[in-house]
């Protein structure tokens, strides 16, 4: 690379920083965002990403509704979520600027592709004057680059059409950022070479533009600072930058391998859970059976069939799909078969906000079946935690012969973070009831400790049995309408799930344990709440937080913890579902703080909740 030796470059150090990419949904924003994220991962940063894109595949070009965003927070161990406000905003057109300005604090840096700030695009975004020139952005540092012109110059001899040339401009911006943050460009070069191996001209063009961006930043005076972002203190090991949806897939495969059974995943396409199915589809094998069903009901039913046939079976969906699966889940409950159901929560009700995040399927998961139909509900806290949670869900499903719903959310499903690949030894073993000799086998005989029934499946000889959705006689498993038996079976199903509370590790309290204020979250708000409490404690406030992973049954130590604080504030992305559950379970007057904007809670938002609640003491 060319070096401009005369150029003076300041090196600025930061513990963490937040970069947001924004442009038209056809601008390749998600692509450069994830490339950038991978580069930070390989540099040893802790990171967290937040894709934010419209539901339409190609919304009208240049329109406000068509803006796609991708945010990356990276740095040292203090990175727990994708961050609230961005320190750097890369915008490809006026609409992207207009939509994203609210994510910037004063003093932040805007890198804009001025080539797209044409009169037409400005009008589409509702700007009367060009904001890059009219002084309206004086609170920020604006770096204007005509990326259109630069790529046209770089590729003038490439033989590509103008449209093809302009498509490469996202890589120009990426090259600039790689220079600014001193990130390894090689990863993206390798990616381009693989991705476009069959289109050598496009491959060369993208590579050329990537380096052109890097060199442009290196050589021009407008880039006078480089940023040195602290690395994380990560455990030694092999890492993979993983999204929550990918982690779900890998956890199910790892669990099936550990159990020594086939992995079966039956699913139906639905945003934002489809990537689980896509990841599985690439891995179809003799022992990883992947089935795209005709609808959500068939998806869960195929998995129930696979569980009956002895597979570690699972299905994945989002809210509307979970609603359709509800009847079949009742069958899984009464059949007492192991099944993992992953619900990637999105904004509801109905079609709602398909690409946006929410935590509003809690009631549906815990209570949403006819009859008394208890099952296990767990929630993942982050992309890499999707692996741990789904693996543990699989283990519990098999040990207790029960369906387990795992709640993730659009935000952690599509966001990514470094995931340390566990060794086989680190993965917990599976426990289940040993089958007795065939002559002693009864389909609904039980393990005294877990109340679990044996998992006999075809074609195991001598264990042929018939089960179904009608009430079973205890032990024998034959159809029974006996009143006393229904009472017994209902009680057993409930008690079996309650006993799973014994599996739950002690709740970890974060922050100041001697404070009066406890912030309670569940699932994907973990990062924002933990960071906000850390910040509050660092600023001299007294606050603590807990994250509840097991939502049914609830942890045994939860009640005592809740009752030991003067004030309990439940922060969640719905209208107060978990707060309702805590009030109902513990007769405790918790304070409910909620938000349903389709965006995850940010550290700043939780911090201001803590601040205002402390003031009220």
């Amino acid at each position: 690379m060319n070096k401009n030796n005369n150029k003076k470059v300041n090196i600025k150090k930061k513990n963490l920083t937040v970069v947001r990419f924004a442009g038209d949904s056809g601008d390749g924003i998600q692509l450069v965002g994830s490339q950038f994220a991978n580069a930070t991962a390989i540099s040893g940063n802790v990171l967290s990403t937040l894709p934010d894109y419209p539901a339409e595949i190609r919304a009208p070009q240049g329109s406000l509704g068509g803006v796609s965003g991708f945010q990356v927070a990276f740095g040292d161990d203090s990175v727990k979520n994708p961050g609230g406000k961005a320190d750097f905003l890369v915008v490809m057109n006026p609409a992207a600027l207009k939509v994203n300005l609210k994510y910037l604090d004063k003093g932040s840096i805007i890198i804009a592709n001025s080539g797209n700030f044409t009169e037409e695009n400005l009008k589409k975004a509702g700007y009367e004057k060009n904001p890059l020139e009219d002084g309206s952005l004086s609170n920020y540092r604006v770096i204007s680059i005509d990326a259109n012109h630069l790529v046209e110059e770089a590729l003038k001899d490439s033989g590509l059409s103008r449209t093809e040339i302009l498509k490469t401009k996202n890589f120009l911006m990426l090259g600039i950022l790689y220079w600014m943050f001193d990130l390894p460009i090689e990863v993206t070069v390798k990616w381009i070479e693989e991705k476009f191996s069959k289109k050598p001209v496009i491959m060369e063009a993208n590579k050329k533009v990537l380096f052109a961006g890097y060199n442009y930043a290196e050589n021009t005076e407008i880039f006078d600072a480089k940023y040195k972002i602290e690395k994380g203190n990560l455990t030694k090991g092999t890492y993979h930058n993983i999204t929550g949806n990918e982690a779900v897939c890998y956890a199910l495969i790892a669990a099936a391998k550990k159990l020594g059974r086939k992995c079966f995943y039956g699913s139906y396409p639905i945003t934002p859970a489809s990537e689980i199915l896509h990841t599985f589809a690439k891995l179809r094998k003799r022992d990883v059976v992947v089935f795209q069903a005709e609808d959500e009901i068939a998806a869960v039913c195929s998995s129930i069939g696979a569980a009956f046939a002895g597979c570690l079976a699972s299905t994945g969906t989002s809210g509307p799909g979970l609603a359709l699966k509800v009847e079949a889940l009742g069958l899984a409950v009464i059949s007492e078969l192991p099944l993992v159901i992953v619900d990637v929560q999105r904004g509801g009700p109905s079609t709602g906000l398909p690409t946006k995040t929410e935590q509003s399927d809690l009631f549906l998961s815990v209570f949403g079946r006819h009859g008394d139909s208890p099952l296990v509900v767990m929630a993942a806290t982050s992309p890499s935690d999707c692996f741990d949670t789904v693996y543990e869900a699989s283990r519990i499903a098999v040990k207790y012969m029960t369906p387990v719903i795992v709640l993730t959310s659009a935000y952690i499903a599509q966001g990514s973070e470094p995931f340390r690949i566990p060794s086989d030894k680190e993965l917990k073993s599976f426990e289940y009831m040993t089958l007795p000799e065939p002559e002693n086998f009864k389909p609904y005989m039980r393990n005294n400790e877990t109340l679990s029934r044996p998992w006999a499946y075809p074609p195991l000889k001598g264990y042929e049995h018939r089960i179904g959705g009608l009430e079973k006689s205890n032990i024998e498993g034959n159809v029974s309408y006996d009143p006393d038996n229904h009472q017994i079976m209902t009680d057993i199903r409930k008690e079996k799930i309650n006993r799973i509370a014994g599996e739950i590790p002690p709740i970890q309290i974060h922050g100041d344990k001697n404070s009066d204020l406890l912030i309670v979250g569940w699932g994907s708000t973990y990062g924002a709440i933990t960071s906000a409490v850390s910040k509050a404690v660092a600023n001299g406030m007294k606050a603590a937080s807990i994250n509840i992973k097991y939502l049914n049954p609830l942890p045994n130590d939860l009640e005592d913890i809740l009752k030991s604080y003067k004030k309990v504030v439940v922060v969640e992305e719905n209208t107060g579902q978990f707060a309702y559950m805590l009030r109902a379970n513990y007769l405790l007057d918790v304070v409910s703080k909620t938000k349903v904007t389709g965006q995850p809670y940010t550290t700043e938002e939780v911090y201001s909740i803590i601040e205002s609640e402390i003031k009220k003491f």
């Binding site: 990883v288 068939a298 042929e464 179904g468």
Partner: protein, 326 residues
């Protein structure tokens, strides 16, 4: 091991259908077929939905799963795809398969998953006590159609043929030998098999099928189709269905001297199956037998031919784009 007999496939549970129900005869036919197919008990899985017919799994001594309304086919799909070595029967009814489960039947056939679907057609929702089903005939009076049914009814055989099922057959509950031999044939054919078994409901459609059973009338209104044979029917074997350019028609002749140019049924000919499956009384006799039996690669066989290796551990899978932190 001694060859298993039909009685070996009886479970120890009392059979609880109404006395006189056609399902008893079908149960006998299925047990007979299972013995003849010759697999051991543990290789059979019977999956059912909801309805009178769907109590079936409790009465055979194999693996069985009595599931929820309409969903037997997707559940059985999960079983079969998990282990293609299993012989998976789906027992369903006209309400279960044609109405609430219609979508799954359609897609089961489209995929050609190797399920052997036995649809007991009594033309009524019997378990819920007598409502019109998708196969209830036009004009029939039921609890939900007190003035006579206005709905057009499905022809299940024509539906299965048009969707591309490689094996399609119709039988009558009382015809035990025919039913069991059709099931044996179905078990040997790769992929989906759709067998409609017309079944008397002793409570709600007791007389509905008498015309097909009464020795006086049955040969006039039903037609036994056999591969390689002309479609002759009638008490005196003096009539035949022939297929001409203008379509199917009935010809009459002197049975001692049948014409030599009668249409010969070919169960590998989908066009013939399309025409013959559409024949219904009163214009034509109702055909029974195997309409279609063709070779078509099954979903599960295609799956395992493609996915013929076991997966690597996640360390290998994730290792490709991994990086080291030291």
């Amino acid at each position: 091991m001694n060859k298993l007999t039909p009685n070996d496939f009886a479970s120890n549970l009392p059979v609880k259908w109404c006395p006189g129900c056609g399902d008893f005869a079908i149960l006998t036919s299925v047990k007979k077929a299972m013995a003849e197919i010759g697999l051991p008990h543990e290789k059979y899985v019977v999956v059912s939905g909801i309805g009178c017919s769907s109590r079936f799994p409790y009465y055979v001594n194999t693996y069985g799963y009595h599931t929820i309304h309409g969903r037997a086919i997707p559940i059985a799909t999960g079983v079969k795809l998990s282990n293609p070595d299993l012989m998976v029967f789906v027992v369903t009814g006209d309400g279960d398969a044609m109405s609430i489960g219609g979508n799954h039947l359609m897609h089961g056939i489209r995929r050609n998953i190797g399920l052997k679907v036995l649809m007991f057609n009594n033309r009524i929702y019997a378990l819920t006590k007598g409502q019109a089903s998708p196969t209830t005939q036009k004009g029939s009076k039921t609890k939900t159609t007190p003035a006579g049914n206005n709905d057009y009814s499905f022809n299940p055989i024509a539906l299965a043929v048009s969707l591309g099922s490689p094996f399609v057959a119709r039988s009558m509950d009382s015809d035990l030998n025919s039913t069991s031999s059709i099931i044996v044939e179905a078990s040997k054919n790769e992929g989906f098999a759709f067998v409609e078994i017309i079944q008397k409901c002793v409570v709600f459609t007791d007389k509905e099928f008498d015309i097909f059973k009464n020795p006086e009338t049955k040969d006039e209104v039903s037609l036994k189709i056999e591969n390689g044979k002309p479609m002759i029917f009638g008490k005196n074997k003096n009539k035949a269905v022939v297929i001409e350019k203008s379509g199917p028609k009935i010809v009459e002749f002197d049975p001692t001297n049948p014409p030599s140019n009668l249409t010969v049924y070919d169960s590998s000919d989908i066009n013939m199956a399309r025409i013959v499956s559409s024949l219904t009384p009163p214009d034509f006799p109702l055909p029974f037998g195997i309409f279609l039996k063709v070779e078509k690669k099954s979903y599960e066989n295609m799956y395992y031919e493609e996915a013929n290796k076991d997966i690597d551990g996640i360390d290998v899978l994730l290792g490709e784009n991994s990086y080291e932190i030291n």
